[in-house]
Symmetry: C2
Subunit: 355 residues, 2 copies
């Protein structure tokens, strides 16, 4: 490296391998290899490098520094998938707060797969994160892997897909209320045979949405018809299949409330393919306010989960836990956010479809 | 911990703090604190724990193990945002290959922000990843931060948004060809005044798409009209603004090819709001094949980038580099994938709009 070339600035370490290289008039990669005990570097060079490193008070790497002070300034996030605007926005909210406090964020995806989820915990612990923020996969029923961080004194906070089986703080949305509001709105639009797409999984968010659906029907004295509740994975294809099933019923529904936006979008495709008008013939509503819900024609009525806010609140709760862990045992707290009903053309019958 | 309760299995380390806890009849968290030299643990306990740890050949943590063998079995990925189905799919493809080889994957997002991108490199190095796979942010013009991993002997491979300023292997899509195919298709549909939405940024993907647009016009002897090329950030709102600008022209375009699907979707919204029929009055095409492009009405013609395949190929190239790094200097290689034109209703004039 030429001496008139500025050395790249390394984080937190004042002295870099470039300084050692410059001092000894050798390349940075030789220094790096010498420090890593590479057999291709002569013993003479190795000794010279180690001596210079000591003189300059070089700190070999962040790992060694981390071993000393036990801090990596990295928060690990576990999510089922980042390819969902909900999770992506929550992560964005977490990063906003974390970055202000000079923490960096790394993400590991479970893809709703239990084994992978266990591995994400391993990966983040190997990456020696200072704490973990997680949303649990749909198929997870044993939560032991989430106990490992806590055993190592690494704080854990859960959001959205949470469990009461772990003694941790949680941030979630009021799924029951969101679903209740959707169904109440559909009833106000004159719908009486309202179908519901739900998930067979044990995840509380779907159970809560189903509960909201049932209670709204009951409170408005609409009899419950089991044939109108369809269980699936709630993806686009599932929504299509579920809608085809519904349209074969002798008494067709006049509305569908899907526990996911993807399911509702599949239902809209099939309804339109079969010549039904949305919302005149069948009103539709989803849950989640994915961006594409405003791209469809008509745009989809849905429930907004304030994902960015949820991320910020989760991070704030996390850092509160973080400050206190080690000293006082913090009592795990649960924060429940209120969702917002977003009414769009797919359900607004009154004055015809609106944007 | 009760002795009849199976101890959680820790990765790669045979002996866990649970074994030490069991041997000494204390809790695992006490062991953990003792090993971390927590002041709340008595010296007597600390000594006992250290002695038991030594007897059982306990390896304090993965960090220490990593320091010894220099392997974390973690690959770090840097992407502008995971909230784009393109990037999410590439990551999925990378994970598929990595997991087969027992590597885990962590992600860090740059949000197209240069400072954040520099921090992602820091974060991944602090997390002592074994290698980095990255797609460069739109606003990055200095690539020095990407030299740091290489200086530490940590292999780097770039995909999609790459640069020739770094001596690394790259995997990209033939953006020129994709754009050329789109514009040729629009010309075949009878369009003659074809507008183009592009980015003012220096990222090669947008320059290549613009070049494909220009060459397709030239090859079909359609004169280039500068007023039909609109530069923006290519988000939904930008697409709306750009379309409004185009519709104010004395000679309106009869087609728009947007270098991003979001831009094309914004254009579709405005066209419909102003009573124009798509594709009869104005044909539309995007780039990227984001899932929402099949949700719009009409569905959007676009270019598929084989993101999953791109991820797999990137990972394969990475592990090839990985095997060889340290020993022989690998000559950086460039892999260019061919994109596929997806023709949908937004551009198909011939026999009326189709699905």
């Amino acid at each position: 490296m030429k001496s008139n070339e500025p050395a790249p600035v390394a984080p937190r370490n004042k002295v870099t391998i470039h300084d050692i290289a410059e001092k000894l008039n050798i390349t940075a990669s030789t220094v790096s290899r010498a420090l890593n005990d590479n057999p291709r570097i002569s013993d003479v060079t190795k000794k010279a490098v180690l001596k210079a490193a000591k003189q300059l008070n070089y700190q070999p790497n962040n790992i060694a520094a981390a071993l000393r002070n036990g801090k990596s300034y990295i928060i690990g996030i576990i999510i089922p998938t980042a390819d969902r605007s909900f999770f992506a926005s929550v992560v964005r909210g977490i990063e906003e707060i974390a970055n202000k406090l000079n923490y960096k964020v790394i993400i590991s995806q479970s893809y709703d797969n239990y084994d992978k989820e266990v591995q994400t915990v391993d990966a983040l612990l190997s990456a020696r994160v200072d704490g973990i923020i997680a949303s649990i996969g749909k198929n997870t029923e044993n939560f032991d892997h989430f106990k490992r961080p806590q055993e190592k004194g690494i704080p854990l906070v859960l959001f959205d897909r949470t469990t009461d089986d772990l003694e941790v703080s949680q941030v979630m949305i009021d799924d029951y209320l969101g679903a209740y509001k959707v169904v109440e709105h559909l009833i106000q639009q004159g719908c009486r045979r309202i179908a519901h797409f739900t998930s067979p999984k044990k995840v509380s968010i779907f159970k809560e949405r189903l509960r909201g659906y049932l209670d709204a029907l009951r409170d408005h004295e609409i009899p419950f018809d089991e044939s109108l509740v369809i269980k699936s994975n709630l993806q686009l294809e599932d929504g299509r299949e579920s809608m085809k099933q519904l349209l074969k019923l002798e008494q067709r529904p006049d509305a569908v409330f899907s526990a996911s936006d993807y399911g509702a979008m599949g239902a809209m495709q099939v309804a339109k393919e079969q010549g039904l008008k949305v919302p005149q013939d069948i009103a539709l509503a989803g849950f989640g306010n994915e961006p594409f819900t405003s791209f469809s024609d008509p745009a989809l009525t849905t429930v907004d989960q304030f994902s960015l806010t949820m991320g910020r609140i989760t991070a704030e709760l996390f850092f509160e836990n973080f400050k206190q862990s080690g000293d006082n045992k913090l009592v795990p707290q649960k924060t429940v956010l209120k969702p917002e009903l977003i009414i769009r053309g797919s359900s607004l019958k009154g004055t015809g479809p609106k944007k």
